[in-house]
């Protein structure tokens, strides 16, 4: 079982991103459970959504406390909540940021980092900082756990229509192509 925690802010589409990723994985024959954290968060408040994937049926309908992967679709949500809480050894961190890897504090448990300046790209495509489909591209590029084709099919199958659909397909593509992936060498204990 592989567990993903998606962090964002209310209104950015973290829950929708979880749904599209789930549909793409199911199209590839995987079993998936996606549980959004729920409440009455106003636009801009930190939100999380949880996704489990496996090659066999998943029974737990619970939140995720020990993620293999943390996917942050907002550049500053990490200041409001500890997005690395409970992350497993050799974990993966995928972050929207304009900053290079050298300027980021990478926790010891993280072994792979995917970085994408999704906000800037979103402002070009949507004229608004909507980063969710961009960061699904970043997830595919960083982890290789889902194909870009499956994500494309899932976006086409969603409620996006016409211009919105075209924009989101472009966002997916650019998120994939413009993500840099960094493998972190195991650091010696100080």
């Amino acid at each position: 079982m592989y567990e993903i925690r998606i962090h964002g802010r209310g209104g950015q589409g973290a829950v929708l991103a979880g749904g599209i990723l789930a549909a793409a994985l199911v199209n590839e024959g995987k079993f998936v459970v996606a549980v959004p954290s729920f409440g009455f968060e106003r636009r801009g408040a930190p939100v999380a959504s949880f996704l489990r994937m496996d090659t066999r049926e998943i029974r737990q309908m619970t939140n995720i406390y020990r993620p293999d992967c943390v996917l942050c679709i907002d550049p500053t949500v990490g200041r409001a909540v500890n997005v690395f809480d409970g992350i497993r050894d050799n974990g993966t961190w995928i972050q929207t940021t304009a900053r290079p890897i050298g300027e980021l504090q990478v926790p010891d448990k993280v072994a792979a980092v995917g970085l994408c300046d999704a906000v800037s790209i979103a402002l070009e495509i949507f004229k608004r900082p909507i980063t969710n489909t961009l960061m699904l591209g970043a997830f595919a590029k960083t982890t290789g756990l889902v194909s870009l084709d499956s994500l494309r099919a899932a976006v086409e199958d969603s409620d996006f229509r016409d211009a919105g659909l075209k924009q989101n397909l472009l966002a997916l593509e650019r998120g994939y192509n413009e993500t840099t992936v960094h493998r972190i060498e195991k650091r010696e204990a100080a």
Binding site: V26, F31, V35, Q60
Partner: protein, 407 residues
């Protein structure tokens, strides 16, 4: 009826609210009355969308409150319609008066309770307290574990409700938040399969509006003289008999579903790894998945632990529970609601009552968790299993354990 479903891939990803809406559509429901309330709202939004898209050929009545929701559906059912609604928490409270009347009039309808903890303190999150508060009103209640079970059970419920020996309304309970918004891979049955499973709606001609046979519905009955007392007893006894008949109807409906659609769910209770179990958990609803994983972890350590899931809660499957739990040394019943009258969980009370009929009666204790949206994880269940194992050794039942007290 001309509702035609656009062919969908056999496996879809959807949450429990959408699954229930698909079930209503596949069951060819004639009439839906709605008033949105969290966490049910997206369910009725899906229904409105399915009607607008032409997938569901039903009359949808957008009323001013839950009291009207059921009152409108009463009219529909009395005219022979297959009817549906969903609600929870405060909405269920507001519809209480027509809710009481529905089983007494033997109206076979289906209503989802997208379970929500009750006021107060103010909460919009999941918990079984709303459904538990109406457990003795005469509706059949089935609880779902998975999104798939929400879809299948909501269709199955019509076969149970409309069974001629039952003729009672059914609540299909699915957990607010974890199942209402939790999405999973779901197998969508074809319309042909559901049509083969579910005959056209049956009408209760004892209480039906027919212009050619005018009659009064729900006349004044009872009192201490004349035909009143015996007539009232006939109504009540008939209702109780219908509830008991539902046990067999629920088993038969699940069997038919397995035969036609190819998916089998335990109809009354499910025994999981109980063959040589020394201790057992008893669960209800979506918590069961994590509990099964905790049982597997204990089994991997060589411990003889099993689980009994209660699917049908009303009528309470007394004999099935007694059979499932006979022979174990100790039982831990996990409730997602409280009994204010007894400082324990309501399912716990029912289980220890049923254990009177067990050949060997185990010690049993009450756990309460998952109130108002709280999570019950495999770690919580792991600790519960340890506590029940201690009970098996020392027989000391002790106080009710509140699983999220120290979260």
């Amino acid at each position: 009826m001309s509702a035609v479903l656009k062919p969908k891939p056999k496996a879809i990803v959807c949450d429990g609210n959408e699954a229930a809406a698909w079930a209503v559509t596949l069951a060819r429901v004639d009439m839906v009355a709605v008033y949105p309330i969290t966490p049910q709202s997206s369910l009725v939004e899906y229904l409105a969308k399915f009607v607008a898209d032409g997938k569901l050929n039903a009359e949808i009545v957008d009323v001013e409150g839950e009291h009207s929701v059921l009152s409108v559906l009463h009219g529909g059912v009395l005219a022979g319609a297959r009817a549906y609604t969903g609600t929870c928490g405060p909405g269920l409270a507001f519809m209480f008066e027509p809710y009481l009347r529905t089983p007494g009039l033997r109206m076979p309808m289906v209503m989802s309770i997208v379970t929500r903890d009750t006021l107060t303190p103010q909460s919009v999150w999941g918990g079984h307290q709303d459904a538990m508060s109406v457990r003795e009103v005469g509706w059949i209640q089935m609880y779902c574990e998975t999104v798939q079970e929400v879809l299948d059970t909501t269709i199955l419920a019509y076969k149970v409700a409309e069974h001629r020996d039952v003729m009672l309304p059914v609540n299909v309970c699915h957990d607010g938040n974890y199942l209402s918004y939790g999405a999973a891979r779901v197998e969508l049955p074809t319309q042909e399969e559901v049509d083969a499973f579910l005959p056209p709606p049956s009408t209760n001609w004892h209480a039906a509006l027919d212009p050619s046979r005018p009659m009064a519905i729900d006349p004044l009955t009872g009192g201490a003289g004349g035909p009143g007392p015996s007539l009232f007893v006939r109504y009540r006894k008939g209702q109780c008999a219908g509830m008991q008949n539902a046990l067999a109807a629920i088993e038969a409906a699940h069997e038919d579903w397995a035969r036609i659609v190819g998916r089998r769910h335990a109809p009354l209770v499910e025994s999981y790894r109980m063959d040589d179990a020394e201790v057992a958990l008893v669960t209800l609803g979506s918590m069961t998945g994590a509990a099964k994983d905790a049982v597997d972890e204990a089994r991997d350590r060589g411990q003889r632990v099993g689980l009994v899931k209660v699917k049908t809660y009303r009528p309470f499957p007394v004999q099935a529970i007694a059979r499932a739990l006979t022979g174990v040394k100790a039982v831990g019943v996990v409730d997602r609601s409280v009994s204010f009258g007894w400082n324990c969980g309501p399912l716990y009370q029912d289980v220890i009552g049923a254990l009177q009929f067990a050949a060997q009666r185990p010690a049993a204790m009450s756990f309460i968790g998952g109130l108002a949206g709280a999570d019950i994880t495999t770690d919580h269940f792991g600790r519960a299993i340890e506590r029940v194992q201690a009970l098996a050794k020392d027989g000391q039942v002790g106080e009710t354990v509140w699983l999220n007290e120290k979260d």
